[in-house]
């Protein structure tokens, strides 16, 4: 009898466990980030305003022409650089305003993609990137996946971020958009709706595809083809002024990059430079970048304001971190001409399968004691 009781007890005790275990094996088919204002299905809050947060206006109950349901979210980005950052974005967080300082988020294991709908007010608005995860802090997200840049259309379009194979066991930053003043110098208005994670077991992890050539680092201001962000300011970064939309005699198109280096040694380094990175501020700490294996050279055009400005190095790759660039190549020192001149970095024989530092320049006070103003245009892999 004791034996029977013991068996019954084991069965009884095991039942809820079995049920739980079974429940664990079948994850829900979808998990909503945001569908409608005040919907009980919403799991995240668009609370994480970043960069030039003063440039953002949000209407989370915009009722005109929602993609589905009753409302969509309207964002108006002015591009005025209210906080002097040149970029802005919003994270959907759980709980609100959680930048990784407290435990929140969700275990999204089993989800393989995030889908959302977006449209621009006019069409042509450029969002630098859409992101899932990526919040750091004491309780960091277990993944960071992004897509972009994306040029919006004036009608609703669905976009997908492939999450297959990613560790989604803790995601506090459910969704995010980021854009820049360079990409939208006049600002932009756009709408987002119906953001959700979905389980699609047929979806395979996304292999990094070899990008086709030419592949632009910089073509023109607000061009969706600009694949790297001039975010890696180095050395005496206070000595640099960057204008990615200069109209001063661009080599091609309607704009070029203008850089003023004032050689004041603001940070005491006596040199300065900028890396164009993917994503912004990636010093090898984010697994991103591009496979540029098809490239055999990087070419760019440059000119000095007076002629004679000396740039110590122009470089491709070379960022070293947890996720290092697969190779590097450079030329320099280069003394610039007053006229536009094309320069080339030979990439034959280089391993360009993983490039996060798309382009870089660096110079110093010793060779430019009076500073230097110079221009760059048409920076591209070929």
């Amino acid at each position: 009898m004791k034996k029977i009781l013991a068996v019954m007890a084991v069965v009884f005790l095991a039942m809820p466990l079995c049920g739980w275990a079974q429940e664990e094996k079948v994850p829900p088919k979808e998990f909503v980030v945001y569908v409608d204002k005040n919907s009980r299905a919403n799991h995240y809050i668009p609370s994480g305003w970043m960069g030039d947060y003063g440039d953002i206006k949000m209407n989370d109950q915009f009722m005109e022409n929602p993609q589905d349901g009753i409302t969509s979210i309207e964002f108006k980005y002015s591009g005025k650089k209210s906080q002097g950052q040149g970029w802005a974005g919003v994270y959907w967080q759980n709980p609100a305003n959680n930048w990784g300082s407290k435990k929140g988020g969700f275990d999204l294991t089993g989800m393989t993609k995030l889908t959302f709908w977006a449209r621009g007010a006019k069409g042509g608005e450029v969002i630098q990137k859409f992101v899932v995860g990526g919040i750091k802090g004491t309780y960091p997200d277990t993944a960071e996946v992004e897509m972009g840049p994306v040029e919006l259309t004036d009608t609703w379009k669905q976009y997908t971020i492939n999450l297959a194979g990613r560790d989604l066991s803790y995601i506090n930053g459910g969704f995010c958009w980021v854009t820049t003043a360079d990409l939208n110098p006049e600002g932009c208005t756009f709408y987002i709706d119906n953001i959700k994670l979905e389980s699609d077991p047929t979806l395979k992890p996304e292999a990094k595809k070899q990008e086709s050539m030419p592949f632009y680092v910089y073509a023109d201001r607000s061009t969706v083809g600009n694949h790297f962000i001039p975010s890696g300011w180095m050395g005496d970064y206070g000595d640099i002024k960057y204008d990615g939309a200069s109209k001063e005699d661009p080599y091609l198109g309607d704009s070029c990059v203008k850089i003023i280096y004032n050689s004041k040694a603001t940070q005491g380094a006596r040199w300065a430079g900028i890396y164009w990175q993917n994503p912004a501020n990636n010093w090898g700490n984010v697994d991103a970048g591009f496979d540029l294996s098809k490239a055999t050279k990087l070419s760019f055009w440059a000119r000095g304001e007076k002629g004679g400005e000396r740039i110590e190095e122009f470089k491709v790759g070379g960022i070293m971190g947890e996720y290092s660039d697969s190779d590097s190549a450079s030329i320099g020192p280069v003394i610039l001409n007053k006229e536009w001149t094309q320069y080339t970095i030979d990439l034959k024989g280089k391993d360009l399968s993983y490039i996060i530092g798309g382009f870089c320049w660096a110079t110093n006070i010793d060779n430019n004691p009076e500073g230097a103003t110079f221009y760059l245009d048409e920076i591209k892999y070929e």
Partner: protein, 438 residues
């Protein structure tokens, strides 16, 4: 060669025996003496003959280092056993407590077969003693190098013929002195001297360079002058020592396109590489620029976490194991590798407490934790203040204690010592399961 040492001891013992038993028949004694004389001569001579070290290119294009015709993978450390409280001028070669005996035993137990000496001490007999002790007691071979005047004040005058001649004579003398030591493995010329051609460290010039306005061409002229000079020395070494290869000590791969043009007499390149977990595309890239074998002559990781401000032996062991896996992935006949790597010498055997503030003798007694430089490849502690995460005094795979043991700072092997020891016992080259891309 250890066998010959034992036999020599045996002979000495027999000789003593002969003197003690002077009543033995003369003819036996005489015969034995003659035999022993010749044996002693033969063995004595063999103990002084150099090993034959060479580089072989295999049919598949891979490279192998051969020592006495047998393949040899360099499993080495950079060796500079400066005691706590002393600086780089400390003459450890003459230390009566013989640190190399204690270290050599630990090295042998770990599996180390080579040490790298940047430049030998001033007393040739002391240097020979160290090389012989390490080789005869532990089978450890020695790579000898020369700075090529790189740290001379005010700068190395590579464009000056007198300077060149003086350095060349210095190197020639080193080779003549030690070429017949059986424990010598190869010669390394310079360390990171190529950076001076780019004007980054110890810049130098001459009239020809001064006249050239284009800075890129200036660098090209410096590279031509420097690498031609190194090649000249290499040629001279080959004339006087046919038994040991000559390596070009080079920081990263910078300048090797020029070296390929001006250094036909260089047998291999000894690269100084600090790229964290991976050597990246180094081995394949080298094939495209300087298709000769490579020994990674300096690599490693410091053990101090500058962010968390504490020693982290796991961090150091993680980097070193990953680096050794890459080295083994690229030795001859390894599947899928470049096949051009001959091995490596870890930087370094033991910590050096003088490095952070080399002009302040008080600081030589302190294990400084202030970081000297930044390197994002060592990403565990890159969030340290100012991103300065590299701690120059903490690169040893063996820590030094202030406690003395037989007159020496007690040696305390760190985790990396044991991890690499186990790796060498069974050097699998599959990638470890780590978070990361490469």
């Amino acid at each position: 060669m250890k066998l010959s040492t034992n036999k020599r001891n045996t002979i000495e013992h027999q000789g003593t025996c002969h003197r003690d038993t002077g009543f033995k028949p003369v003819h036996w004694c005489t015969g034995a003496l003659v035999f022993l004389f010749f044996l002693s001569f033969l063995l004595g001579a063999s103990s002084q003959s150099a090993s034959k070290v060479s580089v072989r290119k295999l049919k598949n294009g891979h490279f192998q280092l051969l020592v006495n015709r047998k393949p040899y993978i360099i499993k080495g450390v950079c060796y500079n056993p400066i005691p706590i409280g002393k600086n780089h001028e400390s003459d450890w070669w003459s230390d009566p407590n013989k640190p190399w005996i204690v270290d050599g035993k630990l090295m042998k137990e770990m599996g180390i077969n080579t040490i790298r000496i940047y430049q030998p001490g001033d007393n040739p007999e002391e240097v020979k003693k160290v090389i012989r002790d390490l080789y005869e007691l532990y089978g450890i071979r020695t790579i000898l190098g020369n700075w090529l005047g790189f740290w001379e004040y005010p700068c190395p005058f590579y464009g000056d013929k007198d300077f060149q001649e003086r350095v060349k004579n210095e190197v020639t003398r080193m080779v003549e002195l030690y070429k017949d030591e059986p424990g010598v493995l190869l010669w390394i010329l310079g360390n990171e001297n190529n950076y001076s051609c780019l004007g980054r460290v110890n810049p130098w010039s001459n009239d020809e360079i001064d006249k050239e306005p284009d800075p890129q061409k200036k660098n090209s002229i410096r590279a031509r002058i420097y690498y031609s000079f190194v090649n000249d020395i290499a040629g001279k070494i080959h004339e006087i020592d046919p038994n040991h290869p000559v390596a070009l000590g080079n920081g990263e791969l910078l300048g090797l396109e020029s070296a390929n043009q001006y250094c036909p007499d260089i047998d291999l390149v000894a690269c100084i590489i600090y790229r964290g977990r991976t050597f990246g595309n180094l081995f394949n890239s080298l094939k495209a620029t300087f298709d000769r074998p490579v020994v990674i002559a300096e690599f490693g990781a410091d053990v101090y976490d500058a962010y968390l401000k504490k020693e982290d032996q796991n961090m150091q062991a993680f980097f070193l194991e990953s680096q050794w896996r890459q080295i083994y992935s690229n030795i001859a006949n390894a599947p899928q590798g470049a096949g051009n790597c001959l091995g490596g010498t870890i930087f370094e055997w033991s910590d050096e407490w003088w490095k952070h503030d080399e002009n302040n003798p008080d600081s030589w007694k302190v294990h400084d934790t202030e970081s000297n430089w930044s390197n994002g490849s060592y990403y565990f502690d890159i969030k340290a203040e100012g991103n300065k995460n590299m701690n120059e005094e903490w690169f040893g795979i063996v820590a030094l204690s202030e406690e003395l043991e037989d007159g020496l700072n007690k040696r305390i092997p760190r985790k990396a010592y044991y991890v690499i020891r186990e790796f060498w016992k069974n050097p699998t080259i599959k990638k470890p399961k780590v978070k990361g891309k490469k």
